[in-house]
Amino acid sequence: MASKDDKLGGFAFSRRDFLKSAGVVSAVTAATAPAEAEAQAGGVNAVGPGDVPVRLTVNGKRVDLMIEPRTTLLDALRNRADLTGNKRGCDRGACGACTMIVDGRAVYSCSTLAIDVQGKQIRNVDGLATANGLHPVQQAFCDKDALMCGFCTPGFVMASVALLEKHPSPTPEQIKKGLDGNICRCGTFSRIFEAVSSVKGVTRG
C-alpha cells in the first residue's frame, strides 16, 4: 500500500475555487443528509477548497491522503492509494462494482465521500485474502466459476462477505436480497448464487 509521501510526490496540487465547481456542490448534497449538509454549510465542518488531509483506515492500515473534499472513497483508494481492486461501473450507486465494507456494512464507495469515512474501518477487496490464502467467498467464486470478465466480481465478493458475516447460513431469499444491489453484465448470477450458497465457515462479523 502506498503512503501519502510516495504516492503524491510527483504531483503539484494547486488550490482552486471550491465554489465554482457545481460538481462539488452536487456531490456533497447527494451524499450527505440534509441536516449534515446544513451544518457543513454553516461552517462547522467545512474544509477545502483544494486538497485537504484525509486519514483513512483501510484493511487495518492507516492511509494518509491529500485530496479534495469531493473525492469519493472509491476514487481516493483507486487513484491515490493504488488499491484498484474495486471498480467503477456506473459512478451512481447502481451497479455495485465499487462495493466496500465500512464498519461492517456494505456501501457503494462511488457514492461515499472519503472525508466522511475517516475513523471508520474500511475494507475493500484488495485486503480480503490473507497470507493463508483466499477468503472462503473468493475460493467459492473460483470453484463455481462465479465470474467471467471479472469487473463486477470485487463488488460481488464484498457484498457476499458482508451478507455472510451478517447471515452465516443465509436462505436463498437472503442471498438474493443481499446481492440485489450488484449487477453483472456477463450474466454470472446463477454461478454466484451457487458459490455463495456453498460457503461455510464465515464468522459473524
Binding site: G85, L147, T153, P154, K177, L179, C184, G187
Partner: protein, 774 residues
C-alpha cells in the same frame, strides 16, 4: 462504421439489409453444411486440411473437462489489472467534450479557459469549426474536443470550461416520422450521409433490394390461413461494466497503449492509421478487460486516438476512460428491428408463403440488418428492408448481431400460426424446419428438451387457472456461425518442465486464457496448471479479434498444431535415451512413454531435463480440419405473469446448445448462462429511451437503464451437446439469441394475448390486456 483514421462527422455507408460482418451473420438460415465444414478459407479455394497428426486425439485429459478459470484468483482478489486500473508514473487523466445536441453545426470552440484551468496539461480540438467536412455533430455524445489534466477531478472541471457555440440543426428522432416522411430531411436518400450538397434528395431512409425466392402468389393460394401482423424490437446498449478507454504512453515515436479492446491487433493497426505512424511503433496490451459484447472490436473508437494525441502533446502518459453516460451514447448499440409480415400456412401446418417489409435503425448512418425469416425458410418468400437513419449514436455488433431480433419476429409469428392450425408449437416448428444435419439439429433438440422441460404439461394459449398469477411456457431456436481462422501460437518447453504458450488473442471474460492452457495441457498430458498462457499483447503471434464467436475456433487449432510440433521435438530428444522410435511415444498422465507400455518412458520432468539450455520452441497457425462453423440450439422458458401488475417473472429456462468440440466445459457452460441472462435483459428490462422531441437519451445510467439483478434470474439448466467430431466452433453468441423469444412466447401462453414488441414492460402488458378487454 467510422474509420479509425478520422473521427467520422459524416457516417460511412454500409451495405443495406446485410447482417453485420462480424462473423456470425453468415449463420443466417440453416444452409446445412457438411459436418466437417471448414472454418476458414471463405472467399477462396479452401486450404488443404491439417495433417492428421494434428487432429484432436481422444481420450482427452483436459479438453472437455471442468477446468477452473486460471485467472479466477487474480480476479476475485482485485490483483487483475484492467485498463481502468493501469497507473503510470506522472499519468494524466483525459476527458472528452461531447455534443449535447443530436444534430448541430460547430460554429466555434474556445479552449482558452480550459487551458488556463488548474492542472491542465493538454487540450485537443477534435472537430474543427473551419473544417466543413467535420464540423457537424450527428448525435448526442458526438466528440468535439478533449483535455488532459493531473487529476480526474481537474480534467472534468476543465472539460466543462470548453466553450462550444452550436448552430442547432433539425434532427430526426422518431423512426415512425422518418418512415412517414414527416421528419426533418437530414440524411441523403442514396446513403446515410448527412449530405449538405444542395439538390441531394433526402429521405432519411435507405431502401434495400427486395429478396425473393419461389412464387409468392402461388404460395398464398395454397394457404388455409393467412396471418398479417407487425412485430418489433427496440434499441439496447452494450453496457460493458468496464467502459471503453485507454492508457497511452509514448517513448519517443513509440506508443504503448493499454486498451479495453476485443482485438489487440486491430487496435494496433487503428493507432498506426489514426496517428500516421508505422504499426511496428505500436504495442497494445489487454491483459484483462471488463466485457465488450461486440462494442470493442476495433480501433474505430475516437477516444483511443484522442488519448494517444493528448499523451503526445502533454509528453506524459494519459488515461482516458469513458463514463457511463458516454458509454450509452457513443459506443454502440443493438439496432432496432421491425417487420410487417404476411404469412400463409396450409391446413397441415406447412408454411407456404412469407412476405415482409422490414426496417430498423442503427442510428446516424449505420445499417440495421437482421435475418428474416429466421431458420424456418418457406419455399416462397419475399422481403424488402429499409435502414432508417436517426440522429443517435451508431450501432455496433452486439452479441449475435441481428439474430435476437430476427428470432423474436420469426418465433412470434410461428406461434400465432401454430394456433391458427391448432398444432402444438413444438410440432409446428419441427414441421417447418430444414432437414436435420450436424449443424441443424433443432428437431432432435426440440424433442429432447420438450421431454426434459415437461412441455406436455403446457396448457393451450391462455392460462385457465383462476387468480392473477398466470403461468406459461415458450420455446425458440437459434443458429450461429462461429468458426474462425485467425489464430497463431508459439510454444516453448524449458528444461525445468515449464510450458509457455504465447498467443496474440485476448480474453473478454469468455475464458480464453484458460482455453489456451487446456488445449496445451491436453497435448502434453500434463496438468493445466503447468501451462503458462501469455495472451493480450501484440508482441505475441498475431491472432484475430474476438468477434463472431471466432476466438476458440481460431486459436485452438493453432495451439494444437504448435504443441504437437513441440511435443514431436521433445520426443525426438528423448527417444535415443529410451532406445525407442520417437514415433512410438505418447504423452499421457504426466509421462512420455511408449504407447501402452509405461515401463519404456519417463516422467515429463525427466523428459524435459533432456532439453538443455535452449527451450524447445515451436509455432502453429490455424489450419482447417480442426474446427467447423455453425451451431444449433434450442431454449425453453417458463414464466409467471401477474396480470394485475403486469410483472413477468421468468421461473425456468432450459438451454440445449451445441458448439462442436467442447474445449473448456466450465467456461463454456458459463457462456450459456450469460447468454440466457443477457437475452432475458433484452426481453424484459433494458431499453434505450429517447426523448421524442429533443433526442436526448433519458436513461443514460444504470439505475433507469434496467438490468437483471440476482432476484430476476431464473433457474437455468444448461445442456451442452457434444459434437466432438466437428472440431471447435465457439459459443459466445448462440445462447443469447432465442431466450427473448422464448420468454415472450411464454408470456403469451400465460396471459392469452400477444405482445408483439419488446421489451415486455409491465405497462405494455397491462395495456395489451386492457385492449383485449375493450
Amino acid at each position: 462504421m467510422a474509420s479509425p483514421i478520422e473521427p467520422q462527422g459524416q457516417p460511412q455507408p454500409q451495405t443495406p439489409a446485410q447482417p453485420p460482418a462480424q462473423g456470425g451473420g453468415r449463420g443466417q438460415g440453416p444452409a446445412p453444411a457438411p459436418a466437417q465444414a471448414q472454418g476458414g478459407g471463405r472467399g477462396g479455394p479452401p486450404p488443404p486440411p491439417a495433417d492428421p497428426k494434428y487432429h484432436w486425439a481422444a481420450p482427452h485429459s483436459a479438453i472437455g473437462t471442468h477446468v477452473k478459470r486460471l485467472d479466477g484468483p487474480d480476479k476475485v482478489t482485485g490483483r487483475a489489472k484492467y485498463t481502468f486500473d493501469i497507473s503510470r508514473p506522472g499519468m494524466l487523466y483525459g476527458k472528452i467534450v461531447r455534443s449535447p445536441h443530436p444534430h448541430a453545426k460547430i460554429v466555434a470552440v474556445d479552449l482558452s479557459a480550459a487551458q488556463k484551468a488548474p492542472g491542465v496539461k493538454a487540450t485537443l480540438l477534435w472537430r474543427d469549426p473551419a473544417d466543413t467536412q467535420r464540423n457537424v455533430v450527428m448525435f448526442q455524445g458526438d466528440e468535439i474536443a478533449a483535455v488532459a489534466a493531473d487529476t480526474e477531478e481537474h480534467a472534468t472541471d476543465a472539460a466543462r470550461l470548453v466553450k462550444v457555440d452550436y448552430e442547432v440543426l433539425p434532427a430526426v428522432i422518431q423512426v415512425e416520422q422518418a418512415l412517414a416522411g414527416t421528419a426533418p430531411a437530414v440524411f441523403a436518400a442514396s446513403g446515410p450521409a448527412a449530405d449538405t450538397t444542395s439538390g441531394t434528395p433526402r429521405s432519411n431512409i435507405r431502401q434495400g433490394q427486395t429478396q425473393e425466392t419461389g412464387d409468392i402468389a402461388a404460395g398464398f393460394k395454397q394457404a388455409a390461413h393467412t396471418l398479417e401482423q407487425t412485430y418489433s424490437t427496440h434499441v439496447i446498449t452494450h453496457v460493458c461494466l468496464e467502459s471503453h478507454g485507454a492508457v497511452c504512453e509514448w517513448d519517443g515515436d513509440n506508443l504503448t497503449a493499454w486498451v479495453s479492446t476485443q482485438g489487440v491487433n486491430a487496435t494496433k493497426d487503428g493507432f498506426a492509421q489514426g496517428l500516421k505512424i508505422p504499426a511496428s511503433n505500436v504495442r497494445v496490451i489487454t491483459q484483462y478487460m471488463g466485457g465488450g459484447f461486440g462494442s470493442k472490436l476495433g480501433a474505430q473508437d475516437p477516444q483511443a486516438i484522442i488519448c494517444a494525441r493528448l499523451a503526445k502533446d502533454a509528453k506524459a502518459p494519459v488515461k482516458l476512460m469513458l463514463d457511463r453516460k458516454e458509454e450509452h451514447l457513443a459506443t454502440g448499440n443493438r439496432p432496432s428491428a421491425a417487420a410487417r409480415v404476411k404469412v400463409g400456412v396450409a391446413a397441415d401446418g406447412t408454411i407456404t408463403a412469407f412476405d415482409a417489409e422490414s426496417w430498423g435503425t442503427g442510428g446516424a448512418g449505420a445499417a440495421a440488418g437482421f435475418p428474416l425469416p429466421y431458420i424456418y425458410l418457406p419455399p416462397n418468400r419475399r422481403r424488402s428492408h429499409k435502414d432508417v437513419f436517426i440522429n443517435t449514436g451508431l450501432q455496433r455488433p452486439m452479441r449475435a448481431p441481428g439474430h435476437p431480433q430476427g428470432s423474436f419476429i420469426t418465433e412470434m409469428y410461428m406461434e400465432e400460426l401454430a394456433d391458427l392450425v391448432k398444432m402444438d408449437p413444438v410440432e409446428f416448428r419441427i414441421k417447418n424446419l430444414p432437414p436435420e444435419a450436424p449443424n441443424a439439429m433443432w428437431g432432435s433438440y426440440l424433442r429432447q428438451g420438450a421431454k426434459e422441460f415437461g412441455w406436455d404439461k403446457r396448457h393451450p394459449t391462455g392460462d385457465p387457472t383462476p387468480g392473477p398469477i398466470k403461468t406459461g411456457m415458450g420455446v425458440a431456436i437459434n443458429t450461429w456461425g462461429g468458426g474462425g481462422s485467425q489464430g497463431r501460437a508459439h510454444v516453448e518447453i524449458s528444461s525445468d518442465g515449464t510450458v509457455v504458450v504465447r498467443c496474440g488473442t485476448q480474453d473478454l471474460g469468455t475464458g480464453t486464457r484458460t482455453l489456451v492452457a487446456v488445449v496445451a495441457a491436453d497435448t502434453f498430458g500434463i496438468p493445466v496448471g503447468n501451462i503458462k498462457p501469455e495472451i493480450g499483447d501484440t508482441v505475441y503471434p498475431a491472432s484475430g479479434g474476438s468477434g463472431g464467436s471466432t476466438t476458440a475456433a481460431g486459436i485452438s487449432p493453432a495451439i494444437r498444431i504448435a504443441t504437437v510440433n513441440a511435443l514431436d521435438a521433445l520426443k525426438a530428444k528423448i527417444a535415443p535415451a529410451l532406445s525407442v522410435d520417437a514415433a512410438s511415444l505418447v504423452a499421457v498422465n504426466g509421462r512420455i512413454q511408449v504407447k501402452d507400455d509405461p515401463s519404456k518412458g519417463m516422467s515429463w520432468a525427466e523428459a524435459c531435463k533432456q532439453i538443455g539450455p535452449q527451450p524447445i520452441a515451436a509455432d502453429g497457425a490455424w489450419q482447417p480440419g480442426l474446427s467447423s462453423v455453425t451451431t444449433s440450439g434450442v431454449q425453453f422458458a417458463e414464466v409467471k405473469v401477474d396480470v394485475e401488475t403486469g410483472i413477468v417473472k421468468v421461473t425456468r429456462v432450459l438451454a440445449l446448445q451445441d458448439c462442436g468440440l467442447v474445449v473448456s466445459r466450465l467456461t463454456a457452460e458459463s457462456q450459456v448462462y450469460g447468454g440466457v441472462i443477457g437475452s432475458l435483459n433484452f426481453a424484459l428490462f433494458e431499453d434505450r429511451i429517447l426523448d421524442r422531441n429533443t433526442g436526448q437519451m433519458v436513461n443514460p445510467n444504470m439505475e433507469w437503464y434496467l438490468l437483471a439483478g440476482m432476484s430476476d434470474v431464473p433457474k437455468i439448466d444448461v445442456r451442452l451437446i457434444d459434437q466432438s467430431e466437428r472440431g471447435v466452433i465457439g459459443i459466445g453468441e448462440p445462447p443469447t439469441v432465442p431466450t427473448a423469444a422464448a420468454v415472450a412466447l411464454a408470456v403469451r401462453n400465460a396471459i392469452g394475448v400477444t405482445v408483439r414488441s419488446l421489451p415486455l414492460t409491465p405497462a405494455k402488458i397491462l395495456q395489451t390486456l386492457a385492449q383485449r378487454r375493450a
